[in-house]
């Protein structure tokens, strides 16, 4: 695997209700482990993954927020979110467990154009 491509993982689902959010995250982490540059983009209810103070022990699931917080340790620091999705849900930067760059529609379309492989979950 000498060649390298720029990966973008889009995550559109809220945590815990389904496995989409976990699967997106595992895909991004694996891509980083394989030393490919990877960005993540949170759209729609996917932005709810960014909320602090998740306590999923009562529903017997792993804390997805904790894994998200570790993304920068895996050199996944290109994190983006749909500005409108955050705004509609009243999510401020201080509500989020890690900093993300907020993008409008033009920014999202441009982000996609600068990546080679886009996987959406």
């Amino acid at each position: 695997m000498s060649t390298s491509k720029r990966f973008l993982v889009i995550s559109r689902h809220p945590p815990y209700g389904s496995s989409h959010a976990r699967d997106a995250l595992d895909t991004a982490l694996t891509t980083a482990v394989f030393e490919q540059p990877v960005s993540m983009l949170f759209l729609d209810d996917g932005v709810y993954q960014l909320l602090q103070a998740q306590q999923p022990a009562a529903i017997q699931q792993k804390n997805l927020g904790a894994t998200l917080s570790a993304l920068p340790m895996y050199d996944i620091d290109q994190l983006y979110a749909c500005d409108k999705a955050l705004q509609n849900r009243g999510l401020q930067p201080e509500d989020c467990l890690l900093p993300v760059q907020r993008l409008d529609s033009n920014g999202i379309a441009e982000l996609i154009r600068t990546h080679d492989v886009v996987m959406s979950f």
Binding site: P14, Y16, L51, Q54, A58
Partner: protein, 95 residues
């Protein structure tokens, strides 16, 4: 009287609309799983007259939403979910 459970976020507008349209006065709406996002103060639910709403506490805590719930919405635990089922002769699940 009917208990309606709903487990999808409000972005699923058609589901939420169908559920609310199907409610009669005296019915109760219990928000579970990703349905608890419908209970946030940020986007207040427009409940039909005579319809009350609750959320399942474990699902609220899991998603970090404790401080973001709308005042009018009561939290119930699993035992409370069972009790609601007993109090309503009919239960419909919207998913």
């Amino acid at each position: 009287m009917t208990l309606h459970t709903l487990n999808r976020p409000p972005s699923n507008t058609a589901l939420l609309t169908d559920c609310l349209n199907a409610c009669s006065s005296g019915d109760c709406l219990l928000l579970i799983e990703d349905g608890v996002y419908c209970a946030l103060a940020q986007q207040p639910l427009e409940l039909p007259e005579g319809v009350t709403a609750c959320v399942l506490a474990a699902d609220v805590a899991a998603r970090g939403l404790q401080s973001r719930l709308h005042d009018s919405i009561r939290q119930v635990d699993d035992a409370g979910f069972v009790k609601l089922c007993c109090e309503h002769p009919r239960v419909i699940s919207w998913y």
